[in-house]
Amino acid sequence: MKALEDHPPVPVEERTASTLAPEPPPAPPGEPRRMVLNMGPQHPSTHGVLRVLIELEGETVKRAEPDIGYLHTGIEKECEVKTWAQAVTLTDRVDYLSNLSNNLVYALAVEKLLQLEIPPKAQFLRVMLAELQRIESHLVWLGTHALDIGAMSVFFYCFREREDILRIKEMFSGQRMMTSYIRPGGLALEPPRGWDARVRKFIDAFPSRVDEYEALLERNPIWLERTKGVGFIALEDMIELGVTGPMIRGAGMPWDIRKTEPYSSYDKFDFEVSTAEGNDVYSRYRVRLGEFRQSARIVKQALEGMPEGPWRADAPKIVLPDREKMKTQMEALIYHFKIVTEGYRVPKGEVYQVIESPRGEIGYYIVSNGTSRPYRVHMRTPSFGNLQGLGPMIEGCLIADTIAAMGSMDFVLGDVDR
């Protein structure tokens, strides 16, 4: 335990005071007095452990500074000691509300390094699952955001459909949330029997469910009052600060990575980029409602155009063999043993793969030094970039509107802190 003695814990009284809210200087005579309000890290509307220091003048926010890191779990460091295959399970836990998007971007990056060709069926299944994931993530957003603002019933409607998607995910992978289903080389398991009927049943009914949410909210005067014209931030500021996803599209800019830099055969699908004018909480809600419908369209097209063929790449040194082959063929047994014990090696190189997640641009920067473990994995997560726009967005807002404005960003703290 020598290392422990080298680093004794810092006594509480010696810790730096800068983490505490700094007292603002006394206001000059005649000027309004300012106070600093500490919001979080345990606050229900931050949907996680976000702390925001808000400087108030009366009820108006003059300055806001997010304080993050309460959910920092060192995932990037941990990736460096896992094999390439094991690290997939860590990507699930980054953005726990859209784990398949994180699986997908990791798999795409590793496959780019390996120069691995993925069969069309696997690509279509990936697109379908990623869109179901987008719907699920937006459902959680809509439900909890409406709950924050005071519209209780939408939450129950949204979670009803979310449950259907979780059951579909469970059917595919055996897990409801941390699926690790999309892996370098294809998918984790063969799609189960009857999956297409299950997905079809859900997706045929889903557009009418979106109409229900719309009916619940669109003529709700409280919802409209609390969302329209709230949470404005200029488009130029968002682009410069790294805000992405529905936030940008809510300002009328049709930027979607699925269109501009298509991956995983998104270019074969016919869909529109959902945008809205207004650049406020309401327009971001309209964007996400539009994405519900567009994602349903994509899932339908994937079901109809699902190619025949294998669901994983023909790469015996990377993809685990069938159990059947493992028990009858010597090579398959050897490859299985090598992949599971040592892991496969990835050629030297670096890659920056971006995709459009439900929250915006995810970019994984992966460096390989030719061994069986990643040398460096950096996750450019959309929530981290989006949260940087929080200060400029809520400055000038009323304190009550910060809840609505923050909710419209749809950040996940696991995604911010990693």
């Binding site: 335990m1 060192g74 780019k112 040398y375 940087q388």
Partner: protein
């Protein structure tokens, strides 16, 4: 000088005409272009890319630790132009002893948190940064966890002797 495949990248080509001496090395691999920039010129190069070449976004800033090699660190900038639908990666090599580089927050305000993250996890200081303090780790934390000589389980526990 930049290599032939790299000169196919429109932004890299224009940059090499404008700042021939600032580009130390270049690489084009897996469809992605990387330029190694002289750390002393990084702000000029970024300002040019932002102002004249429409790279209005900084997608991410991160670093890679090549310990025990020297120069030890590489600071990596992922730039993105929405208008031209173009991406480029810039890299700066930074020495391991007292690592320091100029901040690009004057070019993109969004670089602020990314540079704080690199400072927090790698210990690379950014000159002229408006608010250079830890962002993910506690403020009284000792060491920089993403350095390669920092053990995965931290310094607090020593599993080998337990």
């Amino acid at each position: 000088m930049i290599s032939e495949p790299v000169s196919q990248h429109p932004a890299a080509r224009e940059l090499s005409e404008r700042f021939p001496e600032a580009i130390l090395e270049s690489k084009d691999a897996l469809g992605e272009t990387t330029l190694w920039i002289d750390p002393a010129r990084i702000v000029d190069v970024c300002a040019h890319l932002r102002r004249d070449q429409k790279f209005e976004r900084i997608s991410a800033i991160t670093a890679v630790d090549w310990w025990p090699a020297d120069p030890r660190f590489e600071v990596v900038y992922h730039l993105h132009s929405l208008e031209r639908n173009l991406r480029i990666r810039l890299k700066c090599r930074v020495a391991g002893a007292d690592p320091e580089i100029d901040s690009v927050t004057s070019v993109w305000r969004g670089a602020n948190w990314y540079e704080r993250e690199v400072f927090d996890l790698f210990g690379i200081r950014f000159r002229n940064h408006p608010n250079l303090k830890r962002i993910l780790m506690p403020e009284d934390w000792e060491g920089h966890p993403l350095r390669k000589d920092y053990p995965v389980h931290g310094h607090k526990y020593d599993y080998q002797n337990d």
